[in-house]
């Protein structure tokens, strides 16, 4: 604990005749030639300290505001000098300003305490701790900045001391907040010290591209008065507005949360580069779309984790909101940071950043969790106390309650529990009946054109096919269907409420819906009568589909899509992709006969147990499609025909049979790409494109990474990495540097084969798919043995230990 050094004792202070006036202080600063930026800092600190002091006095305290003003204005008068506090104190003391001198003397080292009273020194120091340069940023952001400095020096003891000091400062701030009955930030807003975003927004909007991304007010967006909501939260999509608004999951939760009377949920997106630059230049905090509330003022921010390459954008959003990046730096006075979505199944790379993960279906869990938080807020319990409560909910994972312990070789030895009451394993949340999970009928319709401007209705969740590379096919099990009547009702209402002219159905494989034919039988004429085009993605190409596709003319333009995923039957058996060459060529023949002129083929490269023969297979399929076209259209019309072969790079994912498998090395990917290029180039009419290797490698690191990657992320963010999924923004050098700086080898995560008995970072999460099933699937893969779709019969993935699988063995049921 730092002892206060007072240059003047109490008696002297009692004898002090006067205090420096504002103009006197300004003159002192002027005479001493204090630099402008330091002066501005002094003004801001004074404004904050003075406002808090006056508010305290209104609540019965008796602080000397003159002293606060005087000391605040000149506390850094000598900042350019060595030991500036001593120099400054001397200047004040010589003029007979003893009290001010004492404050200046101590302002650098003051320890806050909640035991005694509140002094003028306390308030000047508080002002100093919440202002960065000349801007109010709040205690958490300021403390994070100071801690980061200590972290950079790697001095653990120093860091510990600073952490203690920070804790005291937070406690002190809380004491003040409870006296004045509002947060310090609220007070600053009321006093006009924190600027309203809206003041600057108009001129900012004139300078950016597509300003309507930031204005809100779209059709069906929800406007409430945040002051009247008990819980004010933001749903954050860590990518651009156009991408986020095309994502249905956000609309589902937005709709559900806002149906709750006491909750107001707004939207947050990553600003595009031009807007980000302006926000930083104008020192405006990132704000919510609906009410332009700075995101740091929200109770909860919920991120959706759709792809690993969006993680740096999460950090950027927090940073733009002046919110500390690390969970441990956000003890009080910060929004609770929550994350869910498919990537949350391996939450570990974000464990140091996110406070709470939600695993599994969000519809029921999110509401329960939010209401629990609203209760906690009402009761005024601490963040820690709330987390202890929340971790008891099925689907809630609080990473700070666990700690991995590592072996010498870098693998995890065990994961220990830091809080006894936390569950041993976190079970995923599961919505059993999709008909009870409300699907939005009034989705928001953006003003600007987004990736998809159309009505979207989910027909079912989950997939029974069991492709061994596919995470979605595993983690969304079992298949749960929405009833045909519900789907039709939602489609009609959505179209009526949005005015969209396109409708699409959402699921992992459209034709697998058990009532597909009758459903399409209703939707097709309905859409036709209402000038709406129906779009049906990922159809299984059987006779019925062709009939449908014929009717929906649209398809002819975009081309026919096939995803064989692998080039030979052997490899398709390895990955359990249930499609044969005959399926492909029969469908292609039919398509060409019906006049299609463009075929798209999707493959993945780098599957486990892949050989070059499998690559030859890809080239072979493409050539044979071309040949079929030649044969069928011999003598005419063959000119315009083309085949696009797209190859993505295989990324092993948690909760799949390939979760133990190594990813191909970058060199191997490059070789394979080159090989395929050379094979496909001579084939006239084939366009070959493939995915970037560097991004796929990083994706593999984060997909199966552990907690140590949090530092890599933070470091990459500081190196300027963001929008990593955008080729034009991807900054590989920044990433390379981040791995170097943190001493972490990315290949340990991406290209290393795991043994079955290794403790995997996500082993705490119970995704309901049994590990035995995943192992046996991996073993079968090695021998190229397939496993049937479980609509034929249950193949024992473990799901039915937790719920009933209505589609398990469905084909048998309808036969009998």
């Amino acid at each position: 604990m730092f002892e206060e050094i007072n240059v003047y004792d109490e008696n002297q202070i009692k004898l002090q005749k006067s205090h420096p006036t504002r103009s006197e202080c300004l003159k002192l600063l002027e005479d001493y030639k204090t630099p402008e930026h330091v002066k501005r800092h002094c003004f801001s600190v004074t404004a904050v300290a003075y406002a808090v002091g006056r508010e305290l006095n209104k609540n019965g305290w008796n602080l000397n505001l003159e002293v606060i003003e005087g000391a605040g204005l000149i506390h850094d008068i000598a900042r350019v000098d060595d030991k500036h506090w001593e120099v400054g104190a001397r200047i004040a003391g010589e003029l007979g300003y003893y009290h001010e001198a004492n404050i200046i003397m101590n302002h650098m080292f003051h320890d806050f305490s909640t035991d005694g009273g509140i002094t003028e020194l306390d308030l000047v120091c508080l002002g100093d701790r919440v202002v960065k340069e000349d801007r109010f940023v709040g205690l958490p952001a300021r403390m994070e900045y100071i801690k980061n400095k200590a972290r950079a020096f790697g001095n653990a003891e120093n860091l510990k001391r600073i952490e203690e000091k920070a804790r005291d400062a937070f406690a002190f701030a809380q004491k003040i907040e409870s006296i004045i009955g509002m947060s310090i930030r609220q007070l600053m807003k009321r006093e006009g010290i924190v600027k309203n975003v809206t003041e600057k927004l108009d001129s900012m909007l004139k300078k950016v591209e597509k300003p309507a991304r930031y204005t809100g007010g779209e059709l069906n967006s929800v406007v409430k008065n945040p002051a009247e909501a008990e819980l004010h939260m933001g749903f954050a999509f860590p990518d651009t507005y156009e991408i986020g608004m095309s994502y249905m999951g956000m609309q589902i939760l937005y709709n559900l949360l806002n149906k709750e009377e006491n909750i107001y949920c707004e939207r947050i997106f990553s600003p595009n580069s031009d807007m980000e630059k302006l926000l930083r230049e104008e020192e405006v905090e990132l704000f919510t779309i609906e009410t332009k509330t700075p995101i740091s003022e929200l109770d909860i921010i919920g991120f959706t984790l759709q792809y690993e390459m969006s993680y740096t954008n999460i950090l950027n959003i927090l940073d733009l909101g002046n919110i500390p990046l690390r969970s441990e730096d956000r003890e009080t006075d910060c929004p609770l940071i929550v994350a869910g979505g498919p990537c949350a199944y391996n939450p570990e790379p974000l464990a140091d950043i996110i406070d709470v993960f939600q695993i599994g279906d969000g519809e029921e869990l999110m509401i329960e969790f939010a209401q629990m938080y609203a209760d906690a807020k009402r009761e005024g319990i601490t963040k820690r106390e709330f987390l202890e409560r929340a971790c008891k909910l099925k689907g809630i994972y609080v990473p700070s309650f666990y700690k991995p312990v590592y072996n010498e070789d870098g693998t995890i030895r065990e994961i220990i529990k830091l809080y006894e009451g936390a569950p041993d394993r976190v079970e995923r949340a599961l919505v059993e009946d999709l008909n009870k999970a409300e699907f939005p009928t009034k989705p928001i319709v953006p003003f600007v054109e987004t990736v998809h401007d159309r009505s979207v209705v989910e027909t079912f969740r989950g997939c029974t096919r069991g492709c061994r590379f596919c995470q979605a096919g595993m983690i969304y099990r079992p298949v749960r269907e929405r009833s045909k009547e519900e789907i039709i009702r939602i489609c009609k209402e959505q179209l009526a409420n949005t005015g969209h002219d396109e409708l699409t159905l959402l699921s992992l494989s459209t034709s697998d819906y058990s009532q597909f034919e009758p459903l399409v039988g209703v939707l097709m004429p309905y859409c036709k009568n209402h000038n709406v085009s129906l779009s049906l993605p990922s159809l299984r190409l059987d006779n019925f589909s062709f009939k449908v596709l014929q009717e929906i003319q649209e398809y002819r333009k975009s081309g026919l899509t096939f995803a064989p995923e692998a080039g030979t039957q052997r490899l398709r058996d390895v990955i359990n992709k249930n499609i044969t060459e005959k399926d492909i060529f029969d469908a292609v023949e039919q398509a060409i006969e019906l006049g299609w002129t463009h075929i798209k083929l999707y493959f993945m490269i780098g599957h486990p147990y892949e050989t070059y023969e499998d690559l030859d297979g890809i080239a072979d399929i493409a050539s044979r499609v071309i040949a079929i076209n030649k044969r069928l259209r011999a003598g005419g019309g063959a000119g315009r025909f083309s085949v696009t072969v797209s190859a993505s790079n295989f990324v092993p994912k948690p909760f799949t049979p390939f979760q133990w498998a190594p990813q191909d090395t970058a060199e191997s990917f490059v070789e394979k790409h080159n090989y395929l290029s050379s094979k496909l180039k001579p084939v006239k009419g084939v366009i070959f494109n493939y995915h970037d290797t560097e991004t796929s490698g990083l994706e593999a690191v984060f997909a199966r990474g552990d907690r140590r990657l949090g530092e890599v992320l933070i470091s990459a963010f500081h190196n300027g990495c963001k929008f990593d999924s955008w080729t034009e923004h991807f900054n590989f050098e920044g990433w390379k540097k981040a791995f170097e700086e943190t001493g972490i080898d990315p290949l340990f995560y991406s290209c290393r084969e795991r043994s079955y008995d290794e403790v995997l970072p996500w082993s705490l999460i119970d995704g309901y798919i049994s590990e035995e099933f995943l192992k046996s699937e991996n073993e079968k893969a090695k021998k190229a043995i397939t496993t049937p779709d479980c609509r034929h019969y249950c193949v024992g993935c473990g799901m039915n230990r937790h719920t009933t699988c209505t589609m398990g063995g469905y084909y048998g049921k309808i036969r009998d």
Binding site: L205, P211, A212, G217, L219, G499, D501, N531
Partner: protein
């Protein structure tokens, strides 16, 4: 078949919605309002609907017009009523009129447009300006030459060309309104001769030797005149 024109105002945040996005917005609005637009014939049928005059991004307007055709039996009051209910904030439907079915589109008949250009309440050099004198002298010039960017040529290049805007500018006055200096101007508009307020702003600032950044200036369209 009937031909209608809807009058509306555009202000507030929705002024940041672009012309193309407004087209999409109206298309969807008609759908939601249950008003079936007539479609053009041809290979790529599109709804018979169009704005009288596109409004630049960021401009407010008191006098926007969109015309459309429909086979539906519906009164103009009903059209206005239905649309009023569903329009977003800042898009205020002020009326609906019936147009003769024959004749050119409104867009083809636009002749002049009037704007208010609102300068910031305070900016370096503004206090010393005699705006009344400036505006008079500005208009007294025989020619006002500005550099105008051409449309993209075949190679996608744009070139700057000098252009005399004086003959296209019919009135230009400055008055003080609500603490702001406000320019009121009327200029040629339409397919024959068209002068964008942007060029007028550019020319006047240069003339007045003011360096006000564009984002400090607001523009509002206040009237459209058609060929008689």
């Amino acid at each position: 078949m009937a031909r209608f024109v809807i009058d509306y105002k555009k202000y507030g945040y929705i002024k940041y919605t672009s012309h193309l996005d407004m087209l999409r917005l109206f298309k969807r609005a008609f759908k939601r309002a249950g008003i079936e637009l007539e479609y053009s014939n041809g290979f790529n049928p599109h709804p018979k609907m169009g704005f009288a005059l596109p409004l630049s991004l960021g401009y407010e307007s008191l006098c926007e017009m969109v015309e459309f055709e429909t086979e539906q039996k519906i009164t103009k009051e009903e059209v206005a009523e239905r649309l009023k209910k569903i329009m977003p904030e800042g898009l205020e439907i002020t009326g609906c009129r019936i147009l003769p079915t024959e004749g050119k589109s409104l867009a083809a008949l636009v002749d002049k447009a009037s704007y208010e250009i609102i300068l910031p309440s305070d900016f370096e050099g503004m206090a010393e300006c005699d705006f009344a004198g400036l505006s008079e002298n500005f208009m007294r010039q025989n020619e006002i030459i500005v550099m105008k960017l051409s449309k993209k040529d075949k190679r996608g290049r744009r070139t700057e060309k000098p252009l005399d805007i004086r003959r296209m500018l019919h009135s230009f006055e400055i008055s003080s309104k609500g603490g702001h200096q406000v320019i009121s101007m009327t200029a040629d508009c339409g397919s024959n001769s068209n002068l964008s307020p942007e060029l007028v702003i550019q020319a006047f600032l240069k003339f007045a030797k003011l360096e006000i950044p564009r984002h400090e200036i607001d523009v509002k369209r206040i009237g459209i005149e058609f060929v008689k």
